[in-house]
Symmetry: D2
Subunit: 492 residues, 4 copies
């Protein structure tokens, strides 16, 4: 298993093309760019903590392929315990970073692909599962960081892939030959991509027969020829080029460092192709990935919210209102909401079941319920943090003002809370709250792992409404026959 | 294990004093009183389903005392799996009854007492645990229904037990002799009491040294000399004395059939006394009972909500608006909320841990989180049911109108929805929604297992806020020392 | 203007057919039936208070037709001040009754009809407005209580009136002759109908050409030949046949005493016909009525909520927890929600505008916003009342238990709160909270004046979304042309 | 009345000391600094629109002092109509700027001071009111922009001003002489201060006798000797130094351009001193200012939300999902919430009453209700905007990427929505949503005009809970005497 340092060093050896604010970065120095460094640091923790005996049980596991001790982020879940440990690992790391460390996306993609290729092969006689296992062993043996790559740009959302004015709005196969395939398109919102080794391309939704060329799944290096990455802006990203305090979380940054990854006729050899036109399995792959990924949010956002709660409580203490009844009530409410999120992640794990391939899959309904709660409750948690945190997160002067010889004394004097605590500490906590509760951080809770409607759509499918109707009929003393299927009505 | 019928027959043999609306019931016929019969029916299901092979795994278990197969409601949890099965059992039964079946209260009381007496004995050298095990074996061998009895009337809530104008506002010991103790007071909101065999008295809160006589825990038959029960009113209880339709759920009723149980100098022999003045363990007993009991609510209310969802969906279908987008969205929202409750119960079970006695205890923080969500989300679920269900639940004529030879035809004609479904079926569903979403049913979700503040109080204790503060300080780059403990401030 | 007593006496002179629980009542004694008496009492206050000098300004006004002083409930609004006074009058009466007094429905119907007939005549050359004014003068001169009658049974909601299997699911004209018209069908959820003098029939929605016979508006006595009324059940209605305490609000009851009114080939003379097939004006009439009626809810429910808040605060005081911080916070939240409702009613009145007829119409968007808030916030208010009110509202014994010579002493002893307050007072407050926060009362807040979706539908129409889009384009620096109307997309 | 250009020109003539990010700006160029220019532009609109005939009625009014036509922002309200026009004016300007234009703060301060000085003089025999009127006439005649300056740094919130370790945590009088007073301290979160002409200093809370020197109210130029301003950071402020698109709202910016204003022994002549130690009137002044200021939020945030709604709807349209049912429902919900805010502002204005001075004051309870709703509903509105707006607001590349010759084509290609709309327009709308829904904008809705608890505290005072209790007692049939005042209880 790599250490954090080895991971960072390995990234320097890539020949990756990354653009930030219109500039192509030097490939070796990508990890050092101020916009990117924090994301690298947080991802590095997923390597480093695997060497910490205190976290051995959460961070490492024995490979079912090789029997070797591996980093859990490269593991295929083989028990309910694995699923639960994943959630606990995520919460623990988030408590240290206060932000995303990105590595779950590839982790989830590999788990989704593992069982899907097994079932695909069983039904269609293909050989994807063996190829996938070889890729997996490569990932495990070399402690590879894999970026899961699902979301396409999608263009006009009312049109299917093949109906778009521009055929590249979804990644698709433009050529097949005896060595492999050539793909074209782009993947948007790519978390951790610029500091990964490999990417795992997946279709963005269930495809129908007419969109066969869009049903493609494959793995390739992030620096393969034809690949380039355009780094996205984040809230207050420019502050990363200045001092430390105003960043709020100077070491780890915010969210996952997303980019647009452009695939300009990229070649992928057959041994890394795991789906190629099997449209009937595209939906299964998407759904499994989505559910594994939605499982995470009560873990990682739970941990992030722990930090928000802590920061809020510290701000109250050092401003002199930590003992006010309404403040304590608000902090308790933040705890309530945070643990509700966590409960959903634990529950969908505890209710996990084995797949045909022997790997374990979360309860899909509860995984969706958890993510859907994240799209709401994080907003409430952050609202309460901003309430208790005070208006200063919106009006604090800059770090340069604090350092200015003429006016630094005023900043120091007038932003002090209780007399015993240095003003700089209060500024730091205010900036941390600012960093964690606005802009990019909120939007990620909304749209990461699927926007709210994506979960709601699953409820209709997963909740077995018909059986609930029968329960009601039974208790109401109604014979099911008469009511069950009222004939289709005419009219509007 | 008793069958449902054997359970009901056994109740007739009691010499119990129950008053309903000012009338003392004939002891043998208590189970037949229209106000009580539904609660008996639902409790009987907890016996009957234990004999159904389909539910054997959920409903039965091997006694850790005797190795015999017992009804799970008399079991002491000995694994996470036991805790999870409890939740699933509760949801399943609720889906059949649409209401409370009461037996979890005694179940939870016995589990709380089991580990508490063990720890009490270990610390104080008492012998309560062995006595408790004997009582437990009696319960298991005879498939006894035990009513958990915790809530005292409490009088003036700003005063402690010993400060009350009337010393009986909390149950207390008035005499001790060589055979046993004599207690006096009352227990309020006693769920399932009038159709139980035994009651298990517990203190209602942690007691301090000055309230030593109030720290009492013991078991006694519900028909012991000096005991009488005054049955509480429920929403629309008088309809139970008329026809079937207007009741909504004529077979199982609503909530748990609560009563006030008066204890007028009641003797309890020493072998049934499990706490007698050990004030330092009263808080532990209360907290364990509360957490076991709060664990349930995502199970039982989850199942109840399944029925509400089903009834709502049926009403939409048979009224012709089942396919409207906003209706489907509302039903999906009800599913979302219901599964959120369920997730909390599963999660606190999955995170259960062994006690010193070897029995398993739920995660107390998550158990509280679950119950607290019930105090809110059930109101949202029921609001949506009333929204989709339509105004007719508030204005439907009576069953007698439907049966009236002159006007029955109008009721039948004008309350019809889609033409193919009999009007009576629509009335039945409307009455079921009415029954399940108003009055008593709502209040029970609020106050059963403790009112909202009871959970909030636990958050401060259980959530380890100090560790969260340290996380925030670390990420904000602040040295903990300076901030951690600001000196006490003066002034208000 | 009639006094309350004169109003009640006048009701005895009707020859009305009312069925309650399958029994046809003696016409003279309708007002004395326990199910009905409370509603009569609250309606009587709308007459009685007009003679109280303290309320003269709110309750009375000068008729624009005759210049005479009239009861405001028979007035046509002629200023913003009239609209605001209406809201204040409603809140004031609700504070005295704690429930509905029904008379606003006919009040709103007359106001809607007044301006609609004026515009109908102007466009179509009909003479409805003059006829309507004659009816109005009759109402004003005789202080008539008019029931507004809009909601049809509607059968299969996915079908239009003419598509229903049974043509009577919406009231329609079955015959026209030189004396008048004959109508047939029913009106559901008729508030205050059984204690009114006249009813004003309106169509339930905008009609299209094919449903011409359903576009009918007319006035007729509630005891006209062919009319019969089937009284609806309410939560705990049977308690009205017993003592006083358990009713909660023995004098005024709960909600408005709704019934199903059956119209079996009822003749209406031409002078009382105000719409007869003019489908293009049916939508206008419905919308105006709906908006006038939705205006009320922040007034009447505001006043009702004042009583709920007061009852909750009293319960807290007399139980000893009135000073707890979380209780005070909850009561403040109830106040916040109540005043939000009131603000909407005041605002839609303050923004009222004159119609072509010279009468004043509320701001329709804000009126809908107010009612929509009622469908949510009342549930929150009542949830908080049940929270603070305590579990006893769900488990209190009956009044007969309190009066029983053997056990009355226990009820008195164990339901006491602070020592100085008689237990009976605590029971009364608990019963009032029970009465006001469950069942029928909730459903009425949801569906009275239109269910939530009815308001949401209006938003699309009334909020001028296109202008908001232009504002955003302007600020974003986008030329409107390119974006404004993206061409229709193909596909799903 | 000044035009917008005249206003900006006048600002250049000040000798003001403003620091931005550690740099002292050239006084003449303060208005041109990229961090400040947007705020100047939006404030300039408050001058410019007064010359637009379309807005004459909203923007201008006749001075009650001179009879001359003045800008409404310098007016003292003299009718309900004035109060309502203020709200409509604010909503209208916000719809044009999408952000704060700052001028209401001084407007509200002057109105609060007008009636308070009148009552102070009446009671104490002081002559503040005449001096205030002279200041007011100066403001009206010269169309002065006045910054209201209330919030002190406050230090340790558990201590009163005089108890602080540093006596300057609240502005206080350090010297009085025959020409005037000398004050010292700072004012935080000063909206619009750096582009105002004058500031109006007020105490931040009701003072007690021991804090006499802190009860000070006075007016002084923003560039008076001893005054300096440290400009606060906002979300993404650095983007203002780059291109236009990434700013979202390049012309008007975000919120109000807040600063810390330091007062280092500043002299104020007696003719500009309006309170000097009269502690008993400090609370009245604070409360009046707070209520006038809270009145605004449904107007200005209503208009801001109109722009958010419009931007959200445009994004949906140009991405191809504008017709999806769930999207339309969410936009309707945003409308509902926005109009609820507006209704509160209209209502507190419509219920306005004359003060002793003849000026009009809003209904204080409803004004607080409105602001309190803003602290919640804006978060919901913005959450929905981020939901419908899509994840791209968190991951969009920079404007420089769009302009890069190598990769601009990819940004253009892959961020396109429906084919007919230029990608740049979609980027602009996304950036506008980003700008308006995160960070500073949210915090301002929370804390501007007082944090949530500030309103809740007022509810207890303003809502007349005692009268509500009496209503409940009356309806419950309880004699008030017994219950009204339970004797004080002992114990905790």
């Amino acid at each position: 298993m790599r250490t954090g340092k080895e991971y960072i060093d390995s990234l320097r050896k890539r020949n990756i093309k990354v653009y930030v604010k219109g500039q192509l970065l030097n490939s070796e120095e990508v990890v050092d760019h101020p916009f990117i460094r924090g994301h690298v640091n947080s991802a590095a923790l997923t390597f480093e903590l695997a060497h910490d005996p205190a976290y051995e049980e959460l961070m490492t596991v024995k490979s079912h392929l090789t029997g070797k001790k591996i980093n859990r982020f490269t593991h295929i879940h083989h028990s309910v315990d694995d699923l639960i440990k994943k959630v606990k690992m995520l919460r623990m790391i988030s408590q240290k970073t206060g932000t995303c460390y990105q590595r779950c996306v590839g982790f989830d993609a590999m788990n989704a692909l593992y069982s899907t290729t097994f079932e695909m092969d069983a039904k269609l006689g293909t050989t994807y599962h063996e190829k996938m296992k070889k890729f997996l062993q490569y990932v495990q043996d070399n402690d590879i960081m894999v970026a899961g790559a699902m979301t396409d740009p999608k263009g006009d959302r009312s049109l299917r892939p093949g109906q778009q004015a521009d055929p590249d709005m979804f990644v698709h196969i433009v050529e097949k030959n005896d060595k492999g395939i050539v793909i074209r398109g782009a993947k948007a919102h790519m978390t951790g991509m610029v500091n990964s080794h490999e990417m795992l391309i997946m279709p963005t939704m269930g495809m129908s027969e007419e969109d066969k060329d869009y049903a493609v799944c494959c793995a390739l290096p992030v620096d393969a020829p034809g690949v380039l990455h355009i780094f996205g802006r984040q809230t207050n990203d420019d502050r990363k080029c200045e001092g430390e305090i105003d960043q709020g979380n100077a070491q780890y940054g915010i969210v996952g460092g997303e980019c647009l990854t452009v695939l300009e006729n990229v070649f992928v050899p057959w041994e890394r192709v795991f789906m190629c036109g099997e449209v009937e399995f595209s939906g299964m792959l998407v759904e499994r990935f989505a559910c594994y990924h939605r499982q995470n949010y009560g873990g990682c956002k739970g941990g992030v919210s722990d930090v928000v709660i802590g920061a809020t409580a510290v701000m109250a203490d050092i401003s002199g209102y930590g003992k006010a009844a309404h403040v304590k009530e608000k902090i308790n409410e933040m705890i309530h909401l945070t643990e509700t999120l966590y409960a959903c992640s634990i529950a969908c794990s505890a209710e996990g079941k084995p797949t045909a391939a022997g790997s374990y899959y979360v309860d899909p309904l509860l995984a969706n319920v958890g993510k859907h709660n994240v799209t709401r409750l994080i907003y409430d948690i952050d609202r309460l943090a901003q309430d208790v945190g005070g208006g200063l997160t919106a009006t604090l002067p800059s770090e340069s003002d604090l350092n200015n010889p003429d006016i630094g004394k005023y900043v120091d004097k007038y932003f002090k809370g209780v007399a015993s605590v240095p003003t700089e500490d209060r500024l730091r906590i205010a900036r941390l709250i600012e960093n964690m509760t606005g802009g990019t951080a909120l939007v990620e809770s909304m749209h990461g792992a699927g926007s709210p409607q994506a979960q709601k759509v699953m409820y209709s499918k997963l909740s077995n409404l018909e059986s609930k109707k029968k329960m009601a009929l039974h208790i109401a003393g109604i014979k099911p026959k008469a009511v069950e299927q009222p004939p289709a009505t005419k009219g509007k």
